[in-house]
């Protein structure tokens, strides 16, 4: 029964997660100890094992509570197999457009080789972009919601295509009845008044890249000439976010957030998250870099320090929340009651079967990170998906088909991690990147703890 639960202690609280129901229980130390032995049908063994530590009457009372949870199917809930709602073939619902395979920054950890993705620097033409819209409309079939992510490189370096594609999206929305959600990821260098106004008017969700403290950001995200960019982008981010407060596109309603990357050079990244909050930003994300054979990348030896840092971040997050100046941290935000269905948890990111990237020349890849990895080329937007085997392989590469994921407690939260990272480290999308898994699991524990704390405080 141990493979059906996960328990952990953090910040003085004891948490019990029932993996197959998703129930989160805040428990006392006695229950925490009992769960080392309890399997649902061995009450006497539990009493015997802990008789020297706890009064028998208390143990029996607690056993009664555990049996009540079992009766409610919130403890040792049955294993979940691939449900009939998980269809054999996915419908494509989301495209990432490589609007510019070029960039005006030279970030030290860029997985896209400074925007070029190992190819010639180039930008997407309006014709390719418009054809991608039609491709998505056809491929999404009866699905109403479609998504397009304008990515790069730096997409604002190619506003001509961004605007042409957006105009065409609006036209096709009217013609087809579909709804497109548009997102743009930018480093902020070209986020001037004109672009901000246009992005707001067109209801773009925005992902704004900032790495925390000025000295950290300037060291990792220099411009082409090697100069720091913090002051320039922060000024633009303030203008952008201020312009989204209130009105039809309040930034809390449209997905607008500041996201950062931490590396081996700033494993004290709580300071970076708090620095961004102190700077006046309150919708934040901060993620570990993924690099192989690089001094900036992480190894197993770094995990204890990263884990301790997440404890600090959790504490700081809760402190600010309790003091009435809380901020939104993307990875701690988790809806424990109304999360995604099992089919979605198996689909995960959908790369390669529900989500494709379109390279500047129209070639299709499973996602933006695979652009330039030739063996993963799926086809192109004119001729469609020619490699029919790969989408099926990606769809079937879900947690229940991956040896290392099948019994992992986090399988229904992380959905097996990033395929591109697995490929980077193991040349096999079914072998997850272990350091990433450990960081993910720690971050999930923190998120569950945060949600449990907030729920308990709310109920008081």
């Amino acid at each position: 029964m141990k493979d059906k639960i996960h328990k952990f202690e953090q910040n003085g609280m004891y948490i019990l997660l029932d993996i197959n129901s998703g129930a989160v229980h805040v428990i006392d130390k006695m229950i925490y100890d009992m769960m080392d032995t309890f399997d649902g049908s061995n009450d006497e063994a539990v009493v015997q094992a802990l008789a020297g530590q706890y009064p028998e009457a208390e143990l029996r009372e607690a056993l009664g509570e555990l049996h009540a949870l079992m009766a409610a199917r919130e403890l040792f809930a049955p294993d979940i197999d691939v449900p009939p709602t998980f269809k054999q073939k996915g419908l494509v619902k989301s495209l990432c457009l490589m609007i510019a395979q070029d960039c005006n920054l030279r970030c030290k950890y860029c997985f896209g080789d400074g925007g070029s993705y190992g190819q010639q620097r180039a930008v997407m033409t309006p014709e390719i972009g418009r054809r991608a819209v039609d491709f998505l409309i056809e491929a999404s079939g009866p699905r109403k919601h479609c998504e397009m992510d304008f990515f790069g490189g730096e997409p604002l370096m190619n506003m001509k295509t961004v605007k042409a594609v957006t105009e065409y999206v609006h036209q096709r929305e009217k013609e087809t009845g579909k709804t497109f959600k548009l997102t743009l990821t930018t480093n902020g260098m070209l986020l001037n008044d004109e672009n901000i106004q246009w992005l707001n008017e067109n209801n773009f969700a925005l992902v704004l890249s900032l790495d925390g403290r000025k000295e950290v950001h300037d060291a990792t995200r220099p411009d082409v000439g090697g100069h720091g960019t913090y002051d320039r982008v922060v000024k633009n981010f303030h203008k952008c976010i201020d312009s989204r407060k209130g009105g039809d596109y309040d930034y809390r309603g449209v997905y607008t957030y500041i996201r950062g990357t931490y590396t081996r050079n700033n494993m004290d990244f709580t300071k970076d998250v708090l620095a961004m909050n102190d700077e006046g930003f309150d919708i934040l994300s901060m993620e570990p870099v993924v690099m192989k054979d690089s001094p900036l990348g992480f190894t197993e030896a770094d995990l204890p320090r990263i884990s301790a840092e997440y404890d600090r971040l959790t504490e700081a997050y809760l402190q600010r929340h309790r003091a009435g100046r809380g901020f939104y941290f993307f990875h701690f935000n988790m809806d424990l009651s109304n999360g995604p269905c099992v089919a979605k948890r198996l689909s995960g990111c959908g790369a390669g079967h529900e989500y494709f990237a379109v390279a500047e020349n129209g070639d299709l890849y499973p996602c933006h990170q695979f652009v330039g990895r030739e063996k993963y080329k799926l086809g192109n937007i004119f001729d469609g998906v020619q490699n029919q085997e790969l989408p099926r392989y990606f769809r079937e590469s879900h947690v229940l088909n991956k040896e290392k994921c099948r019994n992992c407690w986090a399988r229904f939260f992380c959905s097996g991690g990033c395929h591109a990272n697995a490929d980077l480290f193991h040349r096999d999308i079914r072998q997850p990147y272990e350091v990433g898994c450990e960081i993910q699991k720690k971050r999930l524990e923190c998120a569950i703890l945060v949600q449990a704390c907030l729920a308990l405080e709310k109920s008081k």
Binding site: L16, N20, G22, V24, H25, V26, D28, E61, A62, E65, A68, L69, E74, A77, P78, P83, P84, T85, F86, K87, G90, L91, K93, F111, F151, V207, S285, E287, V290, F330, H331, N333, M334, L336, S337, N338, G339, P340, C341, A343, K344, S347, C349, G350, A351, E354, C367, Q369, F412, C414, S415, G417, C418, H419, N421, L444, Q451, A452, A455, L456
Partner: protein
């Protein structure tokens, strides 16, 4: 309960039979952009 406080009303088991409409947002799993993981999502229904 005295020893246990359940903080959510989990829906995972019931969605084995009811989910799969696919209208939810894509959820990038990498560390480079909208990396929210499915755990951070809500159902669109």
């Amino acid at each position: 309960m005295k020893h246990i406080k359940t903080v959510n009303k989990p829906s995972l088991q019931s969605t084995v039979h009811t989910g799969g409409c696919g209208e939810c947002q894509a959820s990038c799993q990498s560390a480079c952009k909208t990396s929210c993981t499915v755990g951070n999502q809500v159902c669109e229904k």
